[in-house]
């Protein structure tokens, strides 16, 4: 059961009657599921509602735990409405992903960088040097006789996905 299937398609009954127990999900996946369920609600919703919405195969305490974790991350807000809390999303999926990604990146020390990152840190003298290099205006550069013959390539139109 993916996020897209449960999200905003109005087939709660369908989902609730799902016969097989789904495979074990990762923590991030559950958070995304809960968050997308919350976003599909009209206004704040209770944990019980979220559980129903997700097909009822999660324990009530699991849903509350996930909501609490999302609250700690600032991804949801809650207010007391009668006895249970009413929960509402604070940011969208991209915002939540950004928050989680930052957590991953912050935990990774630069020295032992595991992911290829676009630029590495700058040394003491690098900033000045870099400003000199980048600050050079294009015509100055071309006047140095290093015009790139491939500059007219038709690859320019290539868009990014």
């Amino acid at each position: 059961m993916s996020v897209r299937e449960t999200e905003g398609c109005g087939r709660e009954a369908d989902v609730a009657d799902h016969p097989r127990r789904p495979r074990r999900r990762g923590q991030g996946e559950l958070e995304a599921l809960v968050l997308s369920a919350l976003r599909a609600a009209d206004g704040p919703a209770t944990a019980g509602w979220v559980r129903e919405r997700l097909g009822g195969d999660l324990a009530y305490t699991t849903v509350v735990t996930i909501l609490t974790r999302l609250l700690a991350k600032g991804a949801v807000t809650r207010e007391r409405s009668g006895r249970p809390f009413a929960w509402a999303p604070a940011s969208d999926e991209a915002g939540l992903a950004a928050r989680r990604m930052r957590g991953v990146l912050d935990a990774e020390s630069d020295r032992e960088a595991v992911l290829a990152r676009f630029v590495t840190g700058l040394g003491p003298d690098d900033e000045r040097l870099l400003r000199e290099l980048v600050g050079r205006s294009p015509d100055e550069g071309d006047a140095r006789g290093e015009g790139d013959p491939r500059g007219e390539g038709d690859a320019r139109g290539e868009g990014e996905g």
């Binding site: 958070e31 990604m101 290829a116 590495t120 003298d125 390539g153 868009g159």
Partner: protein, 310 residues
């Protein structure tokens, strides 16, 4: 076997000259492949030899599980300075295994967590994350390679520079650069003499992606500007200025290389130039390393076989 068993431990020194010269004289693609290959051969050889010395060392320890015959004088005579070397090899090999295991585990964990962080996002190849911190990453594996970019970085780049950024990250993914990087990282963990190769490969892999991006975008200057801007906006707290003392870091060297002409795809450089000598030196070092570790391994197995009561 004699002193040959120690040779592979220090032969990585023969690769230092090429690690220094490759980035200026070889095409980044050639340099990355060559240096990674040399590092891989040398690290396997040096670890095998460490293992052989370790067996002799372990056999001397009281209460060890190895056959008694393995601590016979004939076996110990195979390793020079067996008392010291053998005992030193035990913790050394343990440290190598622990360090490599930790590197692999960290690598897997970061990749797993990074993929998990993106789970809720629709399945496009590019993940643009709303974040005030500028960053861009190539995230391989997990069933789908992805480029991760923050909006803060994209907002500061012009269209041509954005194309350069994406082309750079896609080049990392398409050429599986993470495998080269992981190989040299493990090599540097297993034998500290291989550290200069790790530094060199992490630079040449970036240069390789830069050159690919320049070819895709068709504008070397745009790639240079993208790198320069990205570095300037993502710099942390300004480092204390020691003007003139520090050698230029990797980022200015990349930008300077892009402002210059495209590197020629390498023909094997002539022997009697500094880079040719360095390359042959590294190749010879790797070959000698392979031969002496093979020689040591065969000798050791023969001796141990003879010493094992059947």
């Amino acid at each position: 076997m004699g002193v040959f068993v120690f040779l592979p431990l220090v032969l990585p020194l023969t690769a230092w000259p090429i690690a220094r010269l490759a980035e200026q004289h070889l095409h980044p693609r050639t340099a990355t492949a060559l240096l990674t290959g040399v590092a891989a051969v040398m690290v396997v050889c040096s670890t095998v030899c460490l293992g052989l010395v370790m067996v002799v060392g372990t056999a001397q320890l009281p209460g060890n599980p190895l056959p008694d015959g393995w601590s016979d004088p004939e076996v110990r005579a195979a390793v020079p300075y067996d008392e010291v070397a053998g005992k030193a090899a035990v913790p050394a090999l343990a440290a190598v295994i622990a360090a490599c295991g930790r590197t692999l585990w960290r690598h897997a964990r970061v990749r797993r967590r990074a993929h998990r962080a993106l789970v809720g996002l629709p399945g496009k190849r590019v993940a643009v994350l709303p974040d005030a911190v500028p960053y861009a990453y190539a995230l391989p594996g997990g069933g789908r390679d992805r480029v991760v970019v923050s909006t803060a970085l994209l907002a500061r780049l012009e269209p041509a520079e954005r194309r350069a950024l994406f082309a750079h990250e896609r080049a990392h993914l398409a050429a599986r650069h993470h495998r080269f990087l992981l190989t040299v990282q493990l090599a540097a963990r297993a034998n500290p003499f291989l550290r200069p190769l790790r530094t060199a490969v992490s630079y040449t892999a970036e240069r390789w992606a830069d050159e690919e991006a320049a070819q895709v975008v068709g504008d070397r200057r745009a790639v240079a500007r993208a790198i320069g801007k990205a570095a300037l906006v993502s710099r942390g707290t300004p480092a204390p200025t020691l003007a003139g003392l520090a050698a230029p870091g990797p980022v200015p060297r990349r930008v300077a290389a892009l402002l210059g002409p495209a590197p020629t795809v390498c023909r094997w450089p002539p022997v009697f130039t500094s880079v040719g000598l360095a390359m042959w030196g590294a190749a010879a070092g790797a070959a000698v390393s392979a031969m002496s570790s093979a020689n040591s391994a065969v000798t050791m197995i023969a001796i141990l076989h003879a010493a094992t009561p059947l």
